[in-house]
């Protein structure tokens, strides 16, 4: 059996490891188009602040990890897939045959449609190569404009602020991290950033990036009339699944590769996992691209199993969740954090201390949550949501004090003295 996995990110790497477990004798080829060993984009912010070296971003640390697994790593770019002939075409001109194919090509940072976005000094923050450019230009006294205050924008703020550069963040929505937090929490993050010396412009659109006059190489023109002189502009305006090479093939694509509950695409023996896969969402039952690390890993594991063992493992849907560190202020969000139809909610807010917990219920179950400033027992929100834990009387207690999540979980799931009737 020849397995080909396209993409050397977390989904692809976890997939080849599981393929080897399930198919000890099969041939496994991992194709990635970047020159470095498989690395984690999640680690790039920590590379930017020099907490780790480049090696610290590698997904697997032991030398010879993939050799030991008998996984062949090929640096090349797949340009087309032919599910009829069961081949993939490579940019180098060669083609390769597969019995089972996994598409794990991930996503790429979008380049916003702004005049001048291709100018020298304008970067995305997505690859190790991008990170090297950013480190070079983020210098004390330099002016840096960050376009987009989403997840990636916020997570690289610390590195940019630590560099000593003067920072301006421009976000088109009315609050920061709009796809992860509501406006209450988003406004608290904005205040936090401003208190840490970052200028934040929300509800503001960049109209153009022009050549600068004077010392600064660039001039950022905003729709509120502001002109910001900048040495570097970083765009972080979202990501898009890497599906271009599938256009015209028998593999159906929408936001990402359309997959079923076994992570198989519309083409037989072609599967997809991770940021490129439009997989099942635990909360809605719908299929969408989540583009998060835990989902990529879950996809990789389940797809590998189904590729080898036949379709014996149903993907029941991944919980969408995020955790974000914005200049030391930690936020998290889970599942239906924006609320569910017919549901109700509980909220506690302490803007002066940057603390916030918002819980979303349906019946007596937690279906979504978002927090600010919480670092203890955060995962229990996943446990309550994914476990569909019946809170019974604890829902009322949580509505009075949403921070009592852990007690609610333990009391609802464990044999305590009082519910075990043993004392």
């Amino acid at each position: 059996m020849q397995h080909i996995v396209i993409g050397a990110g977390p989904a692809g790497v976890v997939a080849v490891e599981h393929l080897r477990t399930y198919d000890p004798d099969g041939k496994i080829t991992l194709i990635g188009d970047e020159p470095e060993p498989p690395y984690s984009r999640m680690a790039i912010p920590y590379y930017l602040i020099k907490k780790i070296d480049e090696r610290g971003t590698y997904l697997r640390k032991s030398a010879g990890h993939f050799d030991a697994l008998g996984v062949e790593i090929l640096q090349d770019k797949v340009t087309a897939v032919d599910p009829g002939a069961k081949t993939v075409s490579l940019a180098g001109g060669a083609s390769a045959s597969y019995d089972k194919l996994l598409i794990a090509t991930g996503a790429s940072a979008l380049t916003p449609m702004i005049p001048g976005v291709e100018s020298e000094g304008v970067y995305r923050c997505w690859t190790l190569a991008d990170a090297r450019n950013i480190i070079r230009l983020a210098q004390p006294g330099n002016s840096v404009v960050l376009i987009g205050a989403g997840f990636i924008g916020c997570i690289i703020l610390e590195a940019l602020a630590a560099s000593g550069a003067n920072l301006t963040v421009v976000e088109v929505e009315n609050h920061m991290v709009p796809r992860m937090l509501n406006d209450t929490a988003g406004h608290m993050i904005k205040t936090w950033c401003e208190e840490h010396g970052v200028k934040v412009l929300t509800s503001t659109k960049v109209d153009a990036i022009e050549s600068g006059t004077g010392d600064r190489a660039l001039n950022v023109v905003c729709d509120n009339g502001d002109n910001i002189a900048a040495d570097m502009v970083i765009t972080a305006t979202g990501v898009r699944s890497n599906i271009e090479f599938l256009k015209g093939s028998a593999v159906n694509v929408d936001q990402g590769v359309v997959v079923d509950e076994y992570l198989q695409s519309s083409a037989n023996d072609v599967y997809a996992a991770g940021d490129v896969a439009q997989g099942k969402d635990f909360s809605t039952g719908g299929f969408n691209v989540q583009a998060i690390q835990p989902t990529a890993v879950e996809h990789g594991r389940i797809a590998a199993r189904n590729m080898v063992q036949g379709h014996d493992h149903v993907h029941r849907g991944s919980v969408n969740m995020n955790v974000l560190d914005t200049l030391g202020l930690i936020s998290s969000s889970f599942a239906l954090w924006m609320g569910a139809d017919g549901g109700d909610s509980a909220e506690v807010s302490d803007p002066d201390r940057f603390r916030y917990v918002n819980l979303q219920f349906q019946d007596d179950m937690l279906v979504g949550a978002s927090t600010l400033g919480l670092t203890e027992h955060v995962g229990v929100m996943r446990g309550l949501i994914e476990g569909k834990v019946r809170l019974d009387g604890w829902k009322d207690k949580l509505k009075q004090d949403p921070t009592r999540l852990m007690e609610a979980y333990i009391a609802s799931t464990q044999a305590l003295g009082h519910n075990a009737h043993v004392i």
């Binding site: 977390p10 976890v14 984690s40 999640m42 680690a43 912010p45 920590y46 907490k51 780790i52 610290g56 971003t57 590698y58 997904l59 697997r60 640390k61 690390q293 835990p294 890993v297 594991r301 969740m321 995020n322 955790v323 560190d325 030391g328 930690i330 998290s332 889970f334 670092t375 203890e376 027992h377 955060v378 995962g379 229990v380 929100m381 996943r382 446990g383 994914e386 476990g387 999540l405 852990m406 007690e407 979980y409 333990i410 009391a411 464990q414 044999a415 305590l416 003295g417 009082h418 519910n419 075990a420 009737h421 043993v422 004392i423």
Partner: protein
Amino acid sequence: MLRALQLEPEKCTGCLQCEMACSFENEGVFNPAKSRIKVFGFHDQGRFAPYTCTQCDEAWCMHACPVEAIVVNQDTGAKEVLDAVCVGCKVCTIACPFGTVNYSHDTGKVIKCDLCGGDPWCAKACPTGAITYVDIDNTGLDRMRAWAQQSSAGSASFNVPTEKDVQTYSQAQ
């Protein structure tokens, strides 16, 4: 034979000796806030529940880690955080559905129970037998029995607090 922490909340009196021992062993301070095991109080009912990582087979934290900073200790079965490798991204803290991996602002890394390398101090410090370190095959039985018990009427008396020797802490050990 692998061993595991057996937690029996019905025996817990909420004395917090486990938290004191854990924080001193692992962080060098007597500070329950830095403990990896936590006792949750249900004060309106006078109940307490010690709670920490079960070193679960699913190992959500370990699999979610993007930089291979959580590994299995082959001797103890514990999932251990490698401080030198952890970047502090916190993905494990949201991935663990039991809520037992926490982020530390002090270190910029995550913290979880590592069974003290196979000699867990919470169990040694617990004076009532609510926390014991036993063969892994035995940990489920009393829990299941207690869970099954909840639907039957009346109270059972098989699992009352028991007196046991308390080992005192000495850094030389």
